[in-house]
C-alpha cells in the first residue's frame, strides 16, 4: 500500500500549472499571480507629513517661537513656494513637505491666531515625516509570482498602480458522480436509493480551493454511461469521479474510462477513511477517482484534490497544514493505516483541544459536518492518554 505522502507526490508530479490570463484588479482576490508585480511609482512619492500640523524649519521650532503661516498644503495640493526663516505652512497627513521645511510640528503642539503660529513644544529636525519611498520605490517587486492574492495584496497592487493583473487561469474541474442508487436533491429517489451528496460538497470545496467546478450528469452503473461522462468532461483541466473505486464487481468506472483511453494507476492507500484511490489521465486530462463514501471522498479531496488544484494554480501543493492539539479523550493504538479521526475542537488556556467522536463510521456525514478538526494519526501510532499532544488538520469555516 502507498502512503498518503507518496500518493500526493505522484499526483503533484503529474499536474502542471495553468497558463495565465489578465484579470481586473477588482476580480483578482484569491487568484494566484503568474508574474511578479513591481511598483510603477514610488510611495510616498515625496517626503510627506505623517500628521496634521505645520511644516517649518527646525531651527525655528523652539518653544514660544512665533511664526508666520504663509500657506496651506492639503493632501493633493502641494505648496509650491518655499518655507523661509520664521515661516510655516499648514499640512495634513499625506501632504507633501514644502521646500525649505525640514520638520513637522503637530497641531496639538501649536496655537494659531489668524496667520500667526505659536510653537508650544520644541520641535526637533525631521519629525513626523514619512520619507519618499518609505513604503516602496518605483521598480521594487511588491508581490512575487506564485502569490495567492489576499485583500491586503489587492491594496498593495492598487497602490503600485496596477489596474490589471496576470494570474493563473482557474482550472475547470469536472465532477462525475456514478451509481444507480443516487439521485439529485429534490428529485425522485428509486427503491434502495439515496441522495447524491458528494458532487455538491466537492464543488463547494473546489470553488474554495480556487477551481471552477462543473457537476456532470450522474452516470449510471453502466460502461457506456461512464464513457459518456468522460466525453462530457472533455475540455476540463481535471476530472474527478466519485464511486466505483472499490474492489467490487460494480467498479465500472475503470472500464468506462478505459473505453476513452484511460491511463490508470490504481492505488490502495494506507489511510482511513478512503483506502482506494484512482489516478491517471484520460486523453491527456488528469483524472482522480475518489471513493463513493461521502466521508472518504471528502477526506481524500482534502488530502489529494486540494493540493492538485493548488498545483494547477501555480502553488506548491503542500500537504494541508497541521497544528498541535491536546486530545480530549484517550485514543487506542493505530494500525498500519494513517488515520484521520473526526473530532470536535475547543480552545482553552493550553491551546486547542480535539475530542474524537466516539463512532467514526465513514458513512456518517453528520459527524464530518460537525467536526472542527481531523486528528492525524501516523501508521502504528501508540495509544495515547487524554491530554496527549497530536497533530490536527483544522477544518475551517469554509471547508
Amino acid at each position: 500500500m502507498l502512503s498518503v505522502s507518496e500518493a500526493r507526490a505522484k499526483i503533484l508530479a503529474a499536474v502542471r500549472p495553468m497558463s495565465g490570463e489578465t484579470v481586473a484588479l477588482a476580480n483578482a482576490a484569491g487568484r494566484v499571480l503568474c508574474a511578479p508585480i513591481s511598483a510603477r511609482l514610488t510611495q510616498p512619492p515625496a517626503d510627506v507629513s505623517a500628521m496634521d500640523g505645520f511644516a517649518l524649519r527646525a531651527l525655528d521650532g523652539h518653544a514660544g517661537a512665533k511664526l508666520k503661516i504663509i500657506g496651506a498644503a492639503p493632501a493633493g495640493h502641494p505648496f509650491l513656494g518655499k518655507v523661509g526663516p520664521g515661516e510655516a505652512v499648514r499640512l495634513f497627513t499625506g501632504s507633501f513637505l514644502p521646500g525649505g521645511a525640514d520638520t513637522v510640528l503637530i497641531q496639538e503642539d501649536a496655537s494659531v491666531d489668524g496667520a500667526c503660529l505659536t510653537v508650544n513644544e520644541a520641535c526637533a529636525p525631521a519629525k513626523n515625516i514619512r520619507r519618499a519611498s518609505q513604503d516602496f520605490a518605483s521598480g521594487d517587486i511588491l508581490l512575487p509570482a506564485g502569490r495567492r492574492l489576499t485583500a491586503r495584496d489587492i491594496g498593495l497592487a492598487a497602490a503600485g498602480n496596477h489596474p490589471w493583473l496576470s494570474v493563473h487561469r482557474r482550472p475547470r474541474v469536472a465532477i462525475l458522480a456514478t451509481g444507480d442508487e443516487i439521485s439529485l436533491p429534490g428529485e425522485a429517489i428509486g427503491p434502495g436509493g439515496i441522495v447524491s451528496s458528494n458532487a455538491h460538497a466537492l464543488a463547494a470545496l473546489i470553488v474554495q480551493a480556487g477551481g471552477d467546478p462543473a457537476i456532470l450528469p450522474i452516470a449510471r452503473d453502466d460502461i457506456a454511461a461512464i464513457a459518456d461522462g468522460a466525453d462530457a468532461a472533455r475540455g476540463a483541466d481535471l476530472l474527478i469521479t466519485t464511486g466505483g473505486a472499490s474492489v467490487g464487481d460494480h467498479d465500472l468506472v475503470q472500464a468506462g474510462l478505459a473505453s476513452r483511453g484511460l491511463h490508470l494507476d490504481f492505488w490502495k492507500i494506507a489511510m482511513r477513511p478512503g483506502k482506494p484511490l484512482m489516478f491517471g489521465a484520460v486523453g491527456g486530462m488528469p483524472m482522480l477517482g475518489l471513493p463513493g463514501n461521502p466521508v472518504s471522498a471528502f477526506v481524500c479531496a482534502l488530502l489529494f484534490l486540494c493540493p492538485a488544484i493548488d498545483r494547477l494554480l501555480g502553488l506548491p501543493g503542500d500537504a494541508p497544514m497541521t497544528e498541535l492539539a491536546r486530545i480530549g479523550a484517550p485514543m487506542k493504538a493505530n494500525d498500519q493505516r494513517e488515520d484521520y479521526v473526526r473530532a470536535t475542537l475547543t480552545r482553552d488556556a493550553e491551546g486547542w483541544r480535539a475530542t474524537p467522536f466516539p463512532v467514526q463510521d465513514s458513512g456518517m456525514l453528520r459527524t464530518l459536518a460537525r467536526a472542527g478538526a481531523l486528528i492525524q494519526r501516523a501508521p502504528h501510532a501508540p495509544a495515547l492518554a487524554e491530554g496527549a499532544l497530536v497533530q490536527i488538520l483544522r477544518l475551517d469555516s469554509a471547508s
Copy 2:
C-alpha cells in the same frame, strides 16, 4: 478614549441581521442559514452493507460452510426475496440488507465457485452492517440557523434532500473613498497625488466576509461631493467611508454626510494603528468611517467592519480569533493604546513564532501585505523578552 471591545459592542448593537432569501444548494456555500435544516429522509434509509460481501444468516456463517448464492443486490437494486437457511446474497457497499439475513461476510473471507459460496472465516451476527438512521433520521435537525455553510455542510444538506436553502441576504456595502489626492489605479495622477488603494482592499475583504461591495466614485474633498456620495450609497445596507476621519481642517466627511441627515458618534479609540473612527447612520443606513491611512483602514476593518458584516449575516460578530505565539524579538512596554503590530509568522516545534517588523509606520502597506499575523498588545502591556507568549491575530491567505 473608547476601548476596541467597547467600540465593537456599540457597532454590533446598532446592526441587525439581514432578511432571508432562497438560494440553490449549489450557490449556498459560505452563506449563513436563516432557518434550521432538518432531514427530509432517513440515512441510511434501511440497514445497509458497510462492505462488499455476502448477506447471510449468522447461524450459517461458520468456517467451511458452503452456501448457495441466490441473487445479488447492487446498490440501488435491493434484493426483493428473503435469505433462507444455507443461502447468501451478493452485496456491495451501500446495498440494502435483504430480509432474513442478519450479517455480512466480507468478500475477502469468502470463495466463490459459480453459485456456491464457501465461508473461509467465521462470521458473527450483525457484522459489517450500517443500521438505518445511523447518520440521521427523517426530521433530525442537521444544521442550525446561524450556521455559515461549509463544503461539508453542503454535502449534508444534499444528503438530507434539500435542493434549496434559506439564507440571510448578503449585505450590500457601499465604499466611499474620499480625498483630492487619490486616483484610481491606471488613471492620471495629479501633482501631490497617490493611487487609491483602500477601496480595493476593503472590497476584497468584504467579499471574503460574505458581503457584496460597491465601490462608489471617489469623492473630492468637498462637502457637496461627499453628500453626492451619500446619495449614491442609498439602498446599501452599510456605508463605509475612508479618509477624512482625523482631526484636521479637511475632515469634510462629517459635514458632507451631515447634509444628508447623519446621526454620528465620533470616537477616538485607544488603539494603534487607527485611532479615529466614525460610526453612525445616514437615513437609517449604518455608516462606519475608517481612517484614510491604508494600514489603519485595514486593521480597523478587521476589528470593526468584519464583525459588523458577520452581524448583518446573522452571525454573532465575535472579535477576530486570537491564538498564542512566541515572539521572535523583544518588545517594548506598550502605552495606553491597544496595539496591533505587524509580524512575520513561522512555525517551529513549539508552535507559532511571530516576529514584529522593526518599523511599524502605519504608512507602510508593504509590511501589512507581508505580515502573517498582527500581534495584539493590551494597553500598558509590559516589555517582553524574545520567546515570550503573546496573542496573535493570524492573517490568513485570504484576508
